[in-house]
Each structure stands twice: as C-alpha cells, then as structure tokens.
Amino acid sequence: MNYDDVIRKARDMRALFMQEHYGAKIPWAVNVQKFGRVVSEKTGWQVVSRVLPIPDSLRGALIRMPDHQALILINDKNNECWKRFTFLKEVSHLFLEDEGQFITDTEQLASSLVDMEMDSDGYSLREAAGILAAIEIGIPEAIKSAIFHAINVDGLTPYQIAYRLKMPQKYVEYRLRQWGIMPDSGE
C-alpha cells in the first residue's frame, strides 16, 4: 500500500463517519470514539479500547484477537490529545490493512521500529501509515481553509489550533508546515 492509498482510505472512512454523525456540520474536533464505532461497523472488528499503565516506551498498541476483537491499549500517561491521536492511529490499522499484511512476529516488529536497518519487511512504514491516517482524520484537509482563517485572521497560534482540534501540537505543526501556513512566531 502506498501513501496515496492510505490518504484515500482515511478520507473515505472520515467521509462516511461525517455523513453519519455530523451531516452538514463540520466540527473542529471529531469524536474519535464515535469514529471508532463506524470503523467497527465497516470492518467487522469489535473495538475494545482501554487506558492503562504502560511503561513510557509505548504510547499504545493494537492487538487483533482470533475472535475478531481488536484490543486498543492506550498509555494512561498520554494527555487527552495524545490519547485521542493514539486511538485514531491504532483504529486506522483496522481499515488500512487486511489479513495479508498482519504482523505476528513481535520481536521482528519491535526491532524494525527502533532500527531501520532491521526493517526488511517495511514494518515501520506500516506504522507510519497509521500515523498518516490519524493526521488525515484528526487534522483533515477539509478544514484547511478554516485553520488558515483562524491563523491569519483570528491570530490563533499552533497551540490554540491544537487545543481546538484536540490533537497533539506536534502533528498540528507538521500539518501547518505541509500546507505552508505555519506562522513565523511558531517556527
């Protein structure tokens, strides 16, 4: 799967969700839990998401069980924005990848994520796909003009935009740079 496919799938799933939950209205921050319910309906994976103590090296994890339960574990030390983003990243794997792309060799997965030279199967690229989809859902192209207005007319900072979107400032700034609207003061 290339990144154009990732973006297309994320936009398609977001469009379905928006249609079902918001109609013509466009929210700043989507309710990711409701988004997860739509993903569950469309993919057949029963999403069970839990917040719990996890050592600092992991923000979260997705574990797909043989009974079609998708367990999303979220580190309780994440703030609310990161919890929401982590959920979006993990739930996105459910519609991005099917059986042919499943990973069960967790030792190879872990090695691939910390050392690109060990990543012979492109596992880190699959993780990046989840992040890319989460950005597309939480900081969508569809609200670019509203964000542009908020920055250039209302004078909001990237932090304030992140607060409105309830998304990590790191990825809001990534998006603003991608769109060429990162304010000078935020550089």
């Binding site: 929210p27 989507v30 409701k34 719990l52 103590p53 994890a61 919890k83 050392d115 880190s124």
Partner: protein, 62 residues
C-alpha cells in the same frame, strides 16, 4: 535466543496482528517495546484498565 514473554503470549492467545506505537523509537530498544507490551497485556488481564472515552464536546466550524 529465547522467545520474549510477549511473543509467547501472542502465540498462546492466537493473536492475528500486533501494532506498536513507540513514544520515541530512537530512544528505545526492541526489548523496551516488548517489555512494555507485555506489561500492558498483564495489566489488562489483571483488570487494571478503564475504558477509553472521548468526551470532546461538539464545537462546530459551520
């Protein structure tokens, strides 16, 4: 090399797919991620977790 307990857990449970979201991959070792994942599933199985809830209020652009 012996199998990590998390990998053994994955095999014992018949897990079909696993994904990790590392906090800082360049500052971690593979073993850190596996240890964290194993700790996470042990906490989950011990009942030490709460449901994730998104209480974000609707605030519309239009």
């Amino acid at each position: 090399m012996s199998t990590h307990p998390f990998q053994k857990w994955v095999e014992d449970k018949g897990v079909v797919d696993v994904r990790f979201y590392p906090s800082n991959p360049s500052a971690s070792m593979a073993k850190d991620l596996l240890d964290s994942a194993y700790e996470a599933v042990r906490e989950y199985e011990a009942g030490n977790s709460v449901p994730f809830e998104d209480n974000t209020p609707d605030h519309f652009i239009s």
